[in-house]
Symmetry: C2
């Protein structure tokens, strides 16, 4: 098996090999046809055309990925919340697939590093992160079919982020959850706050949350409070995943 | 195989046997777990509860079916219209899954005959037809998984109804298409128009379209012109399917 893998890898260009490895790491399984993933990260400004002369842009795959994400999340909520009616399910899904949330998912995987574009990536708005997260899902569907798409969404969206209690608004502050948890577990915690302005000069605050002197989560936002909450949320999900694994 | 089927069927109540046969005919394959299909046709007024005490209503399955329909249609359009951008794909999909179209699909399968409700079905609005068409798709997903769901949508929505040229608005009048086709194929056609009022007294017109003295399509609408167009559209799709089969 590993010999075949080596031969397979050798036949690719070095650049594709790096891309293959990076995508494989993100997916948690091997891609078949790298071309789909290249398309998932091609901005229309690149001016690339397919063999039939159609412009290549991640936006078509984003449309496809959005649909797959919606149906996988719908099925998950349907099964997990048997008490919820149609209105509840619809509301919960829109919270999960909110623009803000998708942007966060795309950022966490640092997908923007793959974008091929003639426009500098800094010129894109915030939504580029979520859009290419969706186009990646579209590429997985084309490359590997629905079950893999479902598996990816399970691993990357549902397990680490979907907490129905939180979505129902039962969790108000992540900071208080973290403090409570640390007190219960007898752990030391510390929020290190510093100014960390954006390149364009916008005033931002950075926060490093340490638990037992280990940095657990970092975040940056327009206010100290927001940055603390964001870091706490990240820490909460990091721990929640660990707790689920037990 | 057929012996097993007989034993299987005998163990059901007669009523379930009839329901099983009807569902099988609609699906084009055997259902596994009839319970999902019963839920797909249960109106909340029936007051039924599941084993955990949650109210049973087709609306939850409608949410699920809507999501599956959207993703299957998205994938179909993605593949069939490689020239279309995200905006085009979104627009085409909303035409296919329009309320009006879904109602028509539900009506054509006469799904309303299965609805369990304490409210008389006549009291439901027009949308009940489309809603239970979607809940049926949800039930198929739960019962047989995504590939069967896809197969059903292919057979019942895409093949008979999805004509990209028509959706792009290139087809203006179905009546003129039928006339043109009959002239080309040297066939006799006749539109038989009659008054066919609704139970509540609303004035409606019925149309029977015959080709070579055989009734091909029927329709009813609020004006003669609309009824002719509707019957022509139905005849067009009936023929289109035949033509595709050649």
């Amino acid at each position: 098996m590993s010999i075949f893998k080596k031969i397979f890898k050798k036949s690719r260009s070095q650049e594709d090999g790096i891309f293959f490895d990076a995508i494989q790491k993100i997916l948690g399984f091997s891609p078949n046809e790298l071309n789909h993933y290249h398309k998932a990260f091609t901005h229309r400004s690149s001016g690339k055309l397919d063999t039939a002369g159609n412009a290549i842009s991640y936006e078509r795959l984003e449309f496809l990925g959005d649909a797959m994400l919606s149906s996988v999340i719908a099925a998950h909520l349907f099964n997990e919340a048997p008490y919820g009616d149609e209105g509840y399910l619809t509301k919960m899904r829109s919270k999960i697939v909110s623009r803000e949330h998708l942007n966060e998912l795309g950022k966490d995987l640092d997908l923007i590093r793959f974008v091929e574009s003639k426009v500098p990536v800094q010129h894109f708005g915030e939504n580029i992160h979520g859009n290419i997260f969706e186009s990646l899902i579209g590429a997985i569907y084309l490359d590997k079919g629905y079950p893999f798409c479902e598996k990816f969404i399970q691993q990357r969206v549902i397990i680490p982020y979907v907490d129905i209690s939180r979505l129902e608004g039962k969790v108000i502050s992540y900071k208080s959850l973290i403090i409570e948890w640390c007190q219960k577990e007898k752990k030391q915690f510390h929020y290190d706050i510093f100014e960390d302005n954006a390149i364009d000069g916008q005033r931002l605050f950075g926060v490093k949350l340490s638990i037992d002197e280990k940095v657990i989560a970092k975040a940056r936002a327009t206010s100290k409070k927001k940055a603390e909450e964001k870091a706490s949320q990240r820490a909460y999900f990091a721990f929640q995943e660990k707790m689920n694994k037990k």
